[in-house]
Symmetry: none
Subunit: 257 residues, 2 copies
């Protein structure tokens, strides 16, 4: 018999379904929202929607994998024999986490040179962070989990330093009514991302059992929604504030012609 109750199973099941619906709807919002912003910020919204699209795909797969892994027989939860594929999360993060930093860089509207160099550096660090975490996630020994987890924190700290050091000058150069939102986006990045190592190290200090498993699954799901859909709404708001109101740009140009 499994330690997990039907109630816990259903809670995770509903959380996964909720995440799929939220992320899929957010995707459409960001892609349709492209027409509301200046041409130079449209790529930021394209990428923002790509992140939620990729995440919604993975929540669909995670949901399918979760339902395949368990059966309810006579009101009790039993393992079906199929394995719940937790690796979807890492496959997802490997793609989406670098893209999250790319969308922040794109909406800042830096020079082409700075966009490319910062985008590639931050993207590579984010991919490295995720890749270093995985061996620890699947490790059976606690020591191995700690070792990879700490290795993974090095690129994470480096990203934080870049966001609060290297990017500060560029943030100060943002238009006044967008500056506060860019700073918020930076904080949302750091704070929502901090949740992942908390869950990760919860495994390393030996938190186990059905309740811990439920908390981990629901926790990762909430973090994904905040870091991807919530963060994306901030990116959208920044892009809107930096775009002239509809019609204004053309009027100004016509006046100068």
């Amino acid at each position: 018999m499994l330690a997990m109750t039907v109630g816990q199973y259903s809670f995770v099941y509903n959380a996964f379904s909720f995440a799929f619906a939220t992320l899929a709807a957010a995707t459409i919002f960001f892609w349709l929202g492209r027409s509301q912003v200046s041409a130079q910020y449209r790529t930021a919204l394209t990428v923002t929607g790509m992140v939620t699209f990729i995440a919604s795909y993975h929540y669909f797969r995670i949901f399918e994998s979760w339902t395949a892994a368990y059966n309810i027989v006579d009101g009790t939860l039993v393992a079906s024999g199929a394995v719940f594929n937790d690796a979807y999360r890492y496959v997802d993060w490997l793609l989406t986490v670098p893209l999250l930093l790319v969308e922040l860089i794109l909406v800042m509207g830096l020079s082409r040179q700075e966009t490319i160099s910062r985008g590639f550096r931050l993207g590579a660090l984010a991919a490295l962070m995720v890749a270093l975490g995985y061996p620890g996630e699947v490790a059976t020994e606690v020591g191995t989990r700690w070792a990879w987890g700490i290795a993974s924190m090095i690129p994470f700290v480096w990203i934080v330093v870049e966001l609060f050091g290297g990017l500060s000058k560029s943030i100060a150069a943002q238009p006044e009514d967008a500056r506060g939102l860019v700073k918020t986006a930076r904080w949302v990045t750091v704070l929502s991302w901090s949740f992942y190592p908390v869950v990760y190290f919860a495994g390393a200090i030996g938190l186990e059992g059905a309740t811990a498993k439920t908390v981990v699954q629901v926790g990762y799901t909430i973090a994904d929604i905040v870091a991807k859909a919530g963060f994306g709404v901030l990116i959208y708001m920044i892009a809107v504030r930096k775009s002239p109101a509809p019609g204004v740009a053309l009027d100004a140009r016509l006046a100068n012609a």
Copy 2:
């Protein structure tokens, strides 16, 4: 009992799912990115997105075929009796490989005459290359594999000669800030495509077993992502650099009005 472990099976499984997500997201990026470039380069991005769309479809099918071919029973991998359909790869390449050369030709913005003649010639050579490889891929005799493989190399070498010979003058005529990227795109084509014969001939020199099979599947997958999504990003960057910055075209028109 199968030689392949559950770990190897899952690694391939996750690689296929990763490829689907990457290629599907890339497709949207290229198609939405059409609005960011001049009208004359939009067809190049349409075709770039077609390539990743076709490939994402095939990775979806390959994933389904892979999961149908195996079951995990009591933690051990067993064959289900269904056959893993490797032919999806060749069906995919028959469509996508000619289109990859067409997108490179389209983004170069050559004369209509040159676009048509080079597009058809390179596309036909690429289709021939894929078609000649297939009988060797499914051959049971090593000698047959070698014979078709070598036959397939003839159009491949011809394509390389065209890219580095015939196209050189056209590349030299590209605008300065796009020229480097076009040269990079040419190299990415040749280098990422070179990976395919390496895997192909690995079969001809008798590399077999579960590890070889895992390496082949994951290797082809990485090569497909680089050659299609990665190459597509280069095509997108070339198209953006060759297009006036957003608003500039309109300003120029208004100034002339």
